[in-house]
Subunit: 206 residues, 3 copies
């Protein structure tokens, strides 16, 4: 589907831009910025493809990912002051990105005949691990482990996708509804600062 591919590329652009922003704050040189943008944008899908033995892996199979990432780094280098005020637009793209990444990863897992639960994990890996790798390379504790309903949004949308599939919904509709679920959970949770529970006391109150 052409619309989904467009959204995939838009999400890649947004992820690359966010990676480049982090690298810039760390005072990385041009090469370092490209690497971090690259890892953030395609790292999740790359890990997924290595784990499920899907060769050629994502960015080797389709060079458009690389061109998109280089374009994002170019924009960051030369139009930084124009991008900064667009943080809301970027957040929108980013949220579209995780929605599409999750469902495309999940679909790929199902196409590889994985157990639906494993395919669900692969969807989350696709959406989440680019950011984890970025944080590891910039020596941050991965953000998603601490503060945000991010992976949970992907999980919820993935479950909805599987359920709608069992119910026999038409495939395009199935994709759109599940993507909307991820988008809305993520969007609302950021707006209202929801967080997942942490282990503090157990059921014995200790």
């Amino acid at each position: 589907m052409n619309i989904i591919y467009t959204l995939d590329i838009a999400g890649t652009f947004a992820f690359a831009l966010s990676g480049a922003l982090v690298a810039k704050k760390e005072n990385f040189d041009a090469f370092g910025v490209i690497i971090i943008a690259f890892v953030t944008a395609v790292g999740g899908g790359m890990l997924r493809d290595v784990l499920i033995n899907a060769h050629p892996i994502n960015w080797i199979a389709d060079l458009n990912y690389i061109w998109t990432i280089l374009a994002a780094v170019f924009v960051m280098f030369f139009f930084k002051s124009k991008v900064a005020p667009l943080s809301k637009t970027m957040f929108l793209f980013d949220t579209i990105g995780i929605s599409v990444f999750t469902l495309l990863g999940l679909q790929k897992g199902l196409n590889f005949n994985l157990h639906p639960f494993v395919a669900l994990i692969m969807g989350m890996v696709s959406a989440v691990f680019g950011g984890v790798l970025r944080d590891v390379l910039t020596r941050e504790v991965p953000l998603i482990f601490k503060k945000e309903i991010y992976a949970s949004a992907c999980l919820a949308g993935g479950v909805v996708y599987l359920l709608l599939g069992y119910l026999g919904l038409q495939e395009n509709l199935q994709f759109i509804v599940s993507a909307t679920v991820i988008f809305l959970i993520r969007f609302i949770s950021v707006k209202y600062h929801f967080e997942l529970p942490k282990i503090k006391n157990d059921i014995f109150g200790k």
Copy 2:
């Protein structure tokens, strides 16, 4: 062998629990705790399988690993105060875990027709790299690089396993003896605080 599979699962449970404990100390949210438990428990075997091209990789081929990890996280969330006093039991499970992980990894390497020395490395990778990945994700310097006779125990047991194989020992016996070697070295070294030598002075005393 059914006993070995049971010990494998018990070790997975212990590794997952130890990962969840670390994640809890880092104040991770529920999702972060699951990821760290997961990586600690199956990360070593996952890396091994990717390196030797053994697809489907460990936790994709057998979903029981995932259920075991989720059970460990569940226990950590709801029965934390009951688990903490059991640290000796957990250390026992953990030590059983590295013994079984090492030998199963080594066997898998041999089954894939790797050079015995490479198979030996794969055994150590299986037992040790879950902890390394956990430490990388939680921004610790990997513990095993600094303080404990851990990998060395795996190495020694692996060598014993290979030697007994050349001597033609019956396979079950070969497994039990080598596992015991790993278990005892690890157990005794923790009890008496043995450490590996570090590079301080060379043979010229400088």
Copy 3:
């Protein structure tokens, strides 16, 4: 070609020695030193082979890499005081190493029928990611992201290699000229402290 293989091994030795030196400064034990030396020396090629599905991967296909690494660690343990004054020799070996690693990685990519641009990336991954993995495991911000014209030298040499290939130059000559390009850029940039530009102001001066 036998000379290239010899240079490959010399580079591996230099990379392993530099990894062992870093691990020593971090006060790692013997096992930790071996792991860091190993990752530094063959980590880049290992990552490349996993990404392009080239099994068996580098150090599994040829055990000489492992023996070379163990020899380097042995030297570091017992002849440290003799090695330290040789830092210029080691820098020479290291620079030879990145030249050879880049071109061998690039050639391997081309042999696997990758797009030349992807093969170029694989050459850089081969030369650079051993150091990145070393830095991640020792909790440093990867050096190459910040300070040195390192990856850029690999990139330039790789581009020259591809161009000379299109021009139909004889293969040995093609290798020697491109390796010299990498060597010289790296050598001169270290001597005169060149650095890549960082993102400070964009074209609007902001």
